[in-house]
Subunit: 227 residues, 2 copies
Amino acid sequence: MAKVDNTSEQEGGAIRRRNERAILAAAERVFARHGYRGASLQEIAEQAGLPKSNVLYYMGSKRKLYVRLLERMMERWNAMLDDISPEDDPAEVLSAFIRSKMQLSRTHPEGSRLFASEILGGAPFLQDYLKGELRDWVESRAAVFREWADRGLMDPVDPVWLIFLIWSTTQHYADFEAQVLGITGRDALSDQDLEEITEFLTRVVIKGCGVKHPAARAEDSATLTER
Amino acid sequence: MAKVDNTSEQEGGAIRRRNERAILAAAERVFARHGYRGASLQEIAEQAGLPKSNVLYYMGSKRKLYVRLLERMMERWNAMLDDISPEDDPAEVLSAFIRSKMQLSRTHPEGSRLFASEILGGAPFLQDYLKGELRDWVESRAAVFREWADRGLMDPVDPVWLIFLIWSTTQHYADFEAQVLGITGRDALSDQDLEEITEFLTRVVIKGCGVKHPAARAEDSATLTER
DNA sequence: GCGAAAGCTGACCACATGGTCAAGAATCAG
DNA sequence: CTGATTCTTGACCATGTGGTCAGCTTTCGC
């Protein structure tokens, strides 16, 4: 029957792993570009350098392949969701937040676009994730932001809108890459551009939300116990 | 032959206008949700309450229908691109900029998503527009922003990144509506929510870019000749 | 009222789609 | 070496796709 349970990551022989990698990479590109419906297994197979039957053999179905890609992307996303506490320095947390999200757009643009395409289509596969895990995560962060505001460490802005601001601005450089390149007249954004943008966003967010003394972390955490 | 040149807007009889409206509205929804390839004329026809043949009769082809929708959206976009000059008050211009873009997301979410889907797919139909008209428009605005920075009316931020920030944050509430609703746990965003978000974004942008006294426009333009 | 133009639409076409399957080829554990 | 498992793939299928077309009805100017 040749069925394989996809529970583990490192399962299967070398051949399987190699082919699955090729398929997943190709599929991510094609799904990102054309959406779930618009993507065709034929095109994915061609970009992976395999016959269509082979794609079905490894992935089972178009739906399973798509879901697997989404899950992989959510894992990447979760990987950067380190917890924070009200004791942390707001400036540093926000800065790290923007930087890591920006790097996700940089290192996995296709995955970002895949995610965007899914949401754009009404999130038929991710609805539960959005209303569950992700919502909880946002709420927990929002609570910390509010605490900071209460302590006078930043302006009392709505934390959720702030998170959306950071998500949208960083995601923009992956999702709207074609627009960014067309308007700036470049072939690609350099590492330097990305660094510049990251600094710009960080600056606007921190200054715009009235975050206090961005470089006073060491003092703060040191004085915490003293007070 | 019953061919019609699409050059003018108000052409055709009442029947034609009514059916075209229904088709365009349905097509905008379907294209926005599934992308160009993923959308089917069958589904568009059903949502418009017409047989598929009728859609082809009015629109000629899937491609022409899609292009027409994009052009309509670009017209809406252009409609809010009133010119600005370095003499204007930065705070007021940026505020109006954010507000009008936010309203576009509000009044035409499907159109916004259609546009997003096109860009996400690499802008195969809009490349020329991006590299031409839109780029020029951005450049002209950027020049004004730089002038403001030179005059000390705002921080010397890169105007292009600032424009992208505004675009992405406002567009977000149309394109990622599913995510926003899922996370906030609402059925829809109210007018009040939108107003709140608009004020938040305006505040962060203006404060974050160090724009001087937002409400001092009259003075400024008055004192300009005196100095 | 009449003729022309516009509107309508089911039947149809070539082609692409996701998916199945059977039969052979390659690999690998013992 | 051998038997079993994994891998490979072309042929095939039902269904859906964008698009054409002929023939019909409706509308409208005169």
